[in-house]
Every structure is written in C-alpha cells, then in structure tokens.
C-alpha cells in the first residue's frame, strides 16, 4: 500500500510491512513580530500610540521633551514649574492623540498643547523665577570671570522677568518666534490667530520689552 502522505504506520511491529507513521512535530507558532518603534517617523509613532503602543508614545516624549521643556521654561522661568508643565503637556497629548489629524507636524501640535498648558497655568499664578545660583543647573564659569558671569546672569534674569510680565499672546509670540524660530504662519496656527495679528503681537512684545528693560536700572 502506498501512500503519498508523510504519515506512515510507526507503531507497527518491527519488520512488518504496512504503514509507517513519521510523527512530524508541529513547528512552534510564529509569534507576532513586535515592530521596533525606534526608527518610526512621528506619524507612525502617533498611529502606534493610538493602537495602544505606549512604547511608541515613549519615543515621542523622548524626541520632543527638550523642545517642550524649553517652551515651558521660557514661560515660567523656573525648572520645577517647567518640569511639571512639560509632564502635563505630554499627558494632555496622550489624551488627545486621537484628535491629532496629522495636518500639521507633530512638533507644531505639541507646541500648541504646551503653549496652552503654559498660558492656562501662568494666568493662575506667576511663579517665581529661578534664583540666579540654582543648584539644578550647570553653568561653566571657568572660561570667564565670575563677576562677568554674575552680571550676565543678572541681566538674563531681568530680561526673563520682563518677558514674564508681557501680555499672554505677546509673550507666546515672542517665545515661539525668538527662541523656537517658528514662522509667523506656524505661530498663527498655534495661537489661532492670523499672520498679521502675530506680527503685530511680536512688534508690541518687542516694544514693550524695550520699555520694560529701559526702565530697569
């Protein structure tokens, strides 16, 4: 009896003719390959996050945390609050991922969230700025005289304080344009205004800053 099958009678006594069964061990089921998130672009990371891949969102945080922190720091001028606001911005981003349509870059969307979080917070309280000698920061003063560094830091604190006292939209415009080099169109998109209004806000921010710094000793 011939059979085309690989199954033959293996339990037949030795020497007997008949069926021989070769037990073919089933191969282990292929485990679903988990795609690495490291090389994904932002759009793919967003899609993966929406599908529940928290590791994908982790990469988003890793890629954008410095920018978000810097925006927040510009608003509040102290590390503790900037840190809290950055965390809050990312948590809000996670909650709102499904609303991200990909019409703008993810970074622009994150800017918008961070700016809104900061504007809401600074309208509640204006936190104190970091003391000049903050132990949280590393400032290499070996290359210049300590006195020069101190004077420079004092002036920087004065400028930060002046920026913090600007009206909210002027402050947001100044921060995004000056420190993050966003175009007027991008800023208008983030703040929900027009390019004309953004330029006007930038002009008034600089003019007010000039007055405020001019009145400082």
């Amino acid at each position: 009896m011939t059979h085309g099958s690989a199954v033959r009678n293996a339990w037949a006594p030795a020497g007997t003719t008949g069926w021989t069964v070769t037990v073919v061990k089933p191969t282990a089921p292929e485990t679903a390959a988990v795609t690495s998130v490291d090389g994904m672009d932002d759009a793919t990371l967003v899609a993966a996050s929406i599908e529940g891949r928290r590791d994908a969102f982790d990469v988003i945080v890793e890629r954008h945390r410095r920018t978000v922190y810097q925006v927040c720091y510009r608003f509040v001028s102290n590390h503790e609050d900037a840190s809290d606001l950055s965390q809050e911005s990312f948590v809000r981003a996670w909650r709102g991922l499904k609303t991200f349509k990909g019409q703008s870059a993810l970074s622009t969307w994150l800017y918008r969230i961070a700016v809104n979080v900061c504007l809401n917070r600074v309208s509640v309280k204006t936190p104190p700025t970091d003391p000049i000698e903050s132990s949280d920061h590393f400032e290499d003063t070996r290359v210049e005289g300590a006195q020069t560094a101190l004077l420079r830091e004092e002036r920087a604190a004065t400028v930060r304080k002046a920026i913090a006292s600007l009206p909210k939209k002027q402050r947001a415009t100044l921060i995004l344009r000056t420190y993050h080099d966003l175009s007027h169109q991008q800023i208008a998109d983030i703040l929900g205004s027009s390019v004309g209004a953004t330029k006007a806000n930038f002009f008034h921010a600089l003019a007010n800053l000039k007055k405020l710094l001019g009145s400082e000793p």
Binding site: Y69, S83, D136, L174, F203
Partner: protein
C-alpha cells in the same frame, strides 16, 4: 511716502522687507531708528538661554510621563475613556442629586420665590450646592468641551424663555445684584 507699519518694521528686523519699502527705510531716519531699537531688544532677548537641566532630568521626565499615562486609558479614547469610575462617579452623583432634589422638593417650592441678594448668597453655603461645586470643581474647560458639555448657541435664550414670570423676576434681581456688586 508713509512710514513703516508695525508689520513692516518686523519685516525690516527680520530682513524680509520688500524692496520698495526698503528704499523708504534707507532714507527715513525715524523708521531706521525704530527698526534698530527693535533689533537691539531682540538681540538682548536672544542672548538669554534656557539653563541646561541635569542630564538625568530627561529620563526622569520621561519616567514621570510614563507613570501617569500608565494609569490612563488607551490613547484611542472615544466613549471608552468616559466609561471609567473617575469620570462616571461624579456624573452619576450629580445625576442622583438632581433627581433627589426634583423628587424631594414640592412643586410649589420649585417656583422661584422672591429671592433677595442675601438669599442668593445663602445658596453658596448650601451643602447641596457645595457638594455639586466639589464634584464639578476639577472639571476644566477643555474637559467640558471634549465631553460635549458646552452650551449650544441660543440655549441660554431658550432657557430664559421657559422660566415662569416669577422666576424671570428673580433672575433679573439676581443679575442686577451681581452687576451692582461687580461695579462696586
């Protein structure tokens, strides 16, 4: 030729002023001075750097975010994100309170009596309203909007039209009292 507008001054500072207006800037001392002042203050602002946090901070920040979102529902959200106790509990409690008040209060009491300003301020210390205030106190505007708890255009007008004459009088008095208080 007219002086540069604020937009054009910004363009001048950023080097994007069009040629015709650039010719004015080249010949107008006032505009040149304004543009120079803006450029100077911009330069001063640019010189202010964000202090670099500790190298360990970045991973610490990621970890904090990770911890918070671990307790969050999946990012997909939708109605699923509302079907959880932290959201449902206050809504259910609020609904029960409204239901209890509707049942407990006699019909006559639901017709607004003459409300004086002092009575209106008593509302704020009423335990039931304090409970409602506590329950909704953590809701911010974004949460309300994403939950669809916004007021449709014209809804306030319709609500006022549905009030009885006595209720409208009481509302008018309350609004006047609030306006007077705001002015003082």
């Amino acid at each position: 030729m007219t002086h540069l507008t604020s937009d054009e001054l910004i363009d001048a500072v950023e080097g994007t002023l069009d040629e015709a207006r650039q010719q004015h800037l080249d010949t107008c001392g006032g505009c040149r001075q304004q543009a120079a002042d803006l450029a100077s203050v911009l330069g001063e602002a640019l010189a202010v750097a964000v202090p670099e946090p500790s190298p360990l901070f970045w991973e610490h920040l990621s970890q904090r975010v990770r911890t918070v979102i671990a307790a969050e529902p999946p990012a997909a959200g939708g109605w699923g994100s509302w079907l959880r106790w932290p959201v449902l509990a206050p809504i259910a409690a609020l609904a029960l309170i409204v239901l209890a008040l509707a049942v407990a209060l006699p019909r006559e009491a639901r017709v607004a009596p003459e409300v004086t300003t002092s009575e209106a301020s008593d509302i704020r210390v009423d335990d039931r309203f304090a409970l409602v205030a506590d329950l909704v106190g953590d809701f911010d505007w974004e949460t309300a909007v994403s939950a669809g708890l916004t007021v449709a255009p014209g809804a306030a007008d319709r609500a006022v039209l549905e009030l009885t004459a006595l209720e409208q009088q009481a509302l008018t008095r309350l609004l006047q009292a609030e306006l007077t208080r705001a002015k003082s």
